[in-house]
């Protein structure tokens, strides 16, 4: 019997696992995908909003403010990037100026430093601001992160501290029993005292398995984005928001940690929970709306487009509570600002529902994460030392992002290691550059095949059962692995 089963390995589930792993307890995380952080955590704006935006007295406001403050130390702990680049909310008319003033006051009340600036000052911060913009709300606290790297780092650390993680396990049924729960996936049956539902877009379905009621309803809301290459990295330096409306934060321009630029998201409701395809209309919407806030958009630098499904809910607030069934905890409807709130949400769940119910002692020897080698970020001396130690760090596989074979092997061998081409790309970036994997994908497939002891035609692109290669060509004999 496990102490805790966490359903869903997005950033919420991973951070809960991480927080739990600081205590002596048996934790199992079940993920239906072929990798941690493969859904909403993989496809969002990657911003740590400061927290002045959500409505007063909402869980969103409380979690966002607290979560944003935790990020710098959390990222230090997990050895992942956090960049405090600041943000600008732009107003193009008097109505929107009022919105900025309201946000400015709200920020003041919440102890967040913001500043209203005029167009002239704005232009000293950013060049490519649209001609219609008259005022901006400047917040230096806003940060950017790589969300999936945080989730993976958290899960990796949790696993170094005895947490278990099972991929490709889709929860099919949960039975509440006297002393706990039986959780059934397509392959296995597990038991636990506490079940924490972090199933994102399926959180309502998972809840229904236990309470047999439709206590809440998750409404998938699709957001589509463009990615610009690093050649466009000078386009903006801050996170650029339009003035928010009742519908949300709108289409943004966001620098990423690695020097790309995101344009998006669109926002469209849909019924299908699996369909995260991009659409012509969604991408056209992003292009149209982004012009409201910026000009000279370097569209010729678009290298990728993607979309993600946000797990929204009609009540428009997070659900972080025990369900009607004792010890079954829902962490649901975590849409924006879910990423910014994640560390606070994970802390709240562990404090309120784990530590109060299980008598746990703190792990004396907590294994902290050792940062992975990133050759591209090393000084020449450091590179020299790493290559001397392991020559594979000297063999560049991805020329665009300058990723070495050693880094790719590391990310497969580490705990919570990569099992697919996309999983490697998420961790160490081959294929994230301008050629989008055109040159390096065949090399990554070879390395994965060798490390996993499978044939290249068995190497998945992303989900289980998604190989790029279908068979060997005529008359070629390969050694397996």
């Amino acid at each position: 019997m496990e102490d805790i089963i966490i359903i869903g390995g997005g950033i919420i589930g991973s951070l809960i696992a991480y927080n739990c792993s600081k205590y002596h307890c048996n934790v199992l995380l079940l993920e239906k995908e072929n990798d941690i952080a493969n859904k909403a955590t993989m496809a969002n704006s990657a911003i740590i909003h400061a927290g002045y935006d959500p409505d007063d007295y909402s869980l969103k406001a409380e979690m966002n403010i607290r979560g944003a403050r935790k990020y710098p130390s959390l990222c230090r702990e997990l050895k992942v990037d956090f960049k405090q680049i600041g943000s600008l909310v732009l107003a193009v008319n008097e109505n929107e100026v009022h919105t900025l003033e309201r946000l400015h006051n709200q920020a003041k009340k919440r102890g967040i430093k913001t500043q209203l600036i005029g167009r002239d000052e704005l232009l000293t911060l950013e060049e490519n601001i649209s001609d219609n913009v008259i005022k901006a709300l400047y917040c230096k606290q806003t940060g950017i992160v790589t969300p999936w790297k945080i989730a993976i780092a958290a899960m990796e650390t949790a696993m170094s501290n005895q947490c278990k993680c099972e991929l490709n396990q889709e929860v099919r049924d949960i039975v509440a029993e006297e002393d706990g729960f039986t959780v059934k996936t397509q392959d296995h049956t597990y038991r636990a005292k506490i079940v924490i539902n972090c199933a994102g877009i399926y959180a309502d379905k998972i809840n229904e398995m236990v309470t047999h009621k439709k206590d809440f309803n998750i409404l998938p809301r699709k957001g589509e984005y463009f990615v610009l290459s690093k050649n466009a990295s000078n386009f903006v330096k801050h996170v650029i928001y339009p003035a928010p409306t009742k519908k949300g934060k709108g289409v943004l321009v966001v620098p990423t940690v690695h020097g790309n630029i995101l344009l998006g998201p669109s926002a469209s409701k849909q019924k299908d929970r699996e369909d995260n395809s991009t659409s012509e209309s969604g991408l056209a919407y992003v292009r149209e709306k982004v012009e409201k806030i910026v000009k000279n958009v370097p569209y010729q630098e678009i290298i990728h487009s993607f979309s993600g499904l946000r797990a929204s809910c009609a009540s428009n607030d997070f659900i972080i509570e025990e369900s009607s069934v004792k010890n079954f905890i829902n962490v649901a409807a975590i849409d924006s600002p879910g990423l910014a709130s994640a560390p606070a949400i994970a802390e709240k769940v562990v404090n309120d529902y784990v530590l109060t119910r299980l008598n746990l002692s703190k792990r004396m020897f907590f294994a902290h994460r050792v940062k992975n080698v990133v050759i591209n970020e090393c000084s020449t001396d450091e590179k020299e030392r790493y290559i001397e130690h392991n020559p594979k760090y000297g063999r560049i596989i991805c020329r665009c992002e300058q990723v070495s074979e050693g880094e790719i092997i590391d990310c497969i061998r580490r705990k919570c290691g990569a099992r697919s081409i996309v999983a490697v790309k998420k961790r160490v970036r081959p294929g994230m550059g301008k050629c989008q994997g055109g040159f390096c994908e065949p090399l990554v497939v070879k390395i994965l095949a060798k490390e996993l002891g499978i044939s290249p035609s068995e190497v998945d692109y992303n989900e289980k059962g998604s190989p790029v290669l279908v068979c060997e060509s005529k008359g070629v004999h390969h050694e397996k692995g």
């Binding site: 659409s279 020299e384 290559i387 560049i396 301008k434 992303n462 290669l469 060509s473």
Partner: protein, 417 residues
């Protein structure tokens, strides 16, 4: 720090041809850096024939052509680093490379030749909507999987874009037993060489759909189907013209982009039309001592042309290293009406050795037209052409004597009325 006369970045057709030329003109201290384990570059995966007709007067396969070049390279004492990647180049001509044996090495060069080829345009660059499955890949990547690694990436294949690699792959995959269901081209004309349309599509009854593009990719977790649409004259998909095909692989052959990423940090003049750097008649960039040739400079159709361009470049590199160039004002060379780009983009009259070869492409297919090169109102040359196609790079030699009086040059093509 090691000092060399010349570093050549890339050991493909351009790099090797350039290296041989530099060596032949008496430069001894040449370092050629190649990221793959063998010289030859993309030639190694082009196992079809049709290479070398102009240079070697025989029809070679890609690897055969590469081998002939490798043999020429071996006649000279050229230091070759294989499985080695250049990771940085400074304006002061310091080149940093990395490999397994030596780690990180910095070399001071007197001249640098960029001969690192091009990359294929990907799905992301044209934003095809739909699911993001892995079975949508560029034709060159599929070619590598098949011809180098020995794996097929599909049994029912469709190809978007009629670029030459796509056409070659249509034939290649058919010969390997795949069913190639068609090639879609968004333009009203093919973007590949005519001989490839005949030999790779027509001979195998593979249909070519013009004015057609892929408007949706469907399949989870693997590719199942693609949706195609006809396009209007503005290349926008026409509503209700959609049709779909069940496929397990979509190959993209939608164009090539010079890979100038190593020069991103350098302050060097660029040409938005070639999407590469601008060079003068010596293939020298706006930074003195930096040269470029082959597909990194402009995308060629034929390796023979790459060979010849790199050979001239090599000769000029040697001249730069022996005597240096004379400082002088540049003549600008511009792409005028119906011309997509011209290389070289600059001309220095005093430094010109002899005739200058210009390479250019037309923007659209033209019939019975006149190619005109003018300097202001002064027409330097007029050539009547029966057919000019964007898929076929045009070459034109202009005599030095004729260019001596010229101011800025404009290349234009007009319908002959």
């Amino acid at each position: 720090m090691r000092k060399v006369d010349c570093v050549i970045v890339g050991g493909g057709s351009a790099g090797m041809s350039c290296a041989v030329a530099i060596a032949r003109f008496g430069i001894k201290d040449i370092l050629m850096i190649e990221r793959e384990k063998e010289l030859g570059g993309i030639l190694n995966q082009c196992i079809h024939h049709g290479f070398g007709l102009h240079i070697y007067k025989k029809e070679c396969t890609g690897p055969e052509f590469a081998q002939l070049l490798i043999e020429s390279v071996k006649k000279y004492h050229i230091d070759i680093k294989l499985d080695t990647t250049v990771i940085n180049i400074t304006e002061g001509k310091k080149v940093t490379y990395v490999n397994e044996d030596e780690g990180v090495v910095e070399v001071q060069a007197k001249a640098i030749v960029m001969a690192c080829g091009c990359m294929e345009r990907s799905r992301g660059m044209i934003s095809i909507p739909g699911d993001r499955c892995g079975n949508v890949l560029t034709a060159g990547t599929a070619q590598r999987y098949l011809n180098i690694d020995g794996y097929m990436c599909g049994k029912r294949v469709f190809i978007l874009g009629s670029g030459d690699i796509g056409l070659i792959m249509a034939r290649r995959m058919t010969l390997e037993g795949a069913k190639v269901l068609g090639v879609a081209e968004i333009m009203p004309y093919s973007n590949g060489l005519s001989r490839n349309i005949v030999q790779c599509l027509e001979d195998f009854n593979i249909p070519l759909y013009l004015n057609t593009t892929v408007t949706r990719i469907i399949g989870h977790p693997r590719l199942e189907r693609i949706e195609l649409s006809s396009v209007d004259e503005n290349l926008r998909p026409i509503k209700d013209s959609e049709w779909s095909v069940a496929v397990d692989c979509l190959l993209l052959s939608i164009g090539l982009l010079p890979d100038t990423s190593l020069l991103n940090k350098l302050n060097v003049e660029r040409d938005p039309q070639t999407r590469s750097v601008a060079v003068n008649e010596a293939f020298e960039m706006s930074l003195s001592g930096f040269f470029a040739c082959g597909n990194v400079l402009q995308v060629h159709d034929l390796v023979d042309d790459v060979y010849l361009e790199a050979e001239v470049c090599g000769r000029e590199v040697a001249r730069y290293l022996h005597d240096g160039f004379v400082d002088e004002e540049m003549v600008h060379v511009c792409a005028g009406e119906n011309v997509a780009h011209v290389v070289p983009q600059r001309l220095r009259k005093e430094n010109m050795q002899d005739d200058c070869r210009f390479s250019f492409r037309v923007k659209k297919p033209m019939r019975d037209c006149i190619l005109r090169i003018r300097s202001g109102e002064n027409i330097l040359r007029e050539v009547k052409k029966r057919v000019m196609l964007p898929a076929e790079m045009e070459k034109l030699d202009l005599e030095k004597s004729m260019l001596m009086g010229a101011k800025d040059l404009v290349f234009e093509v007009k319908e002959d009325v």
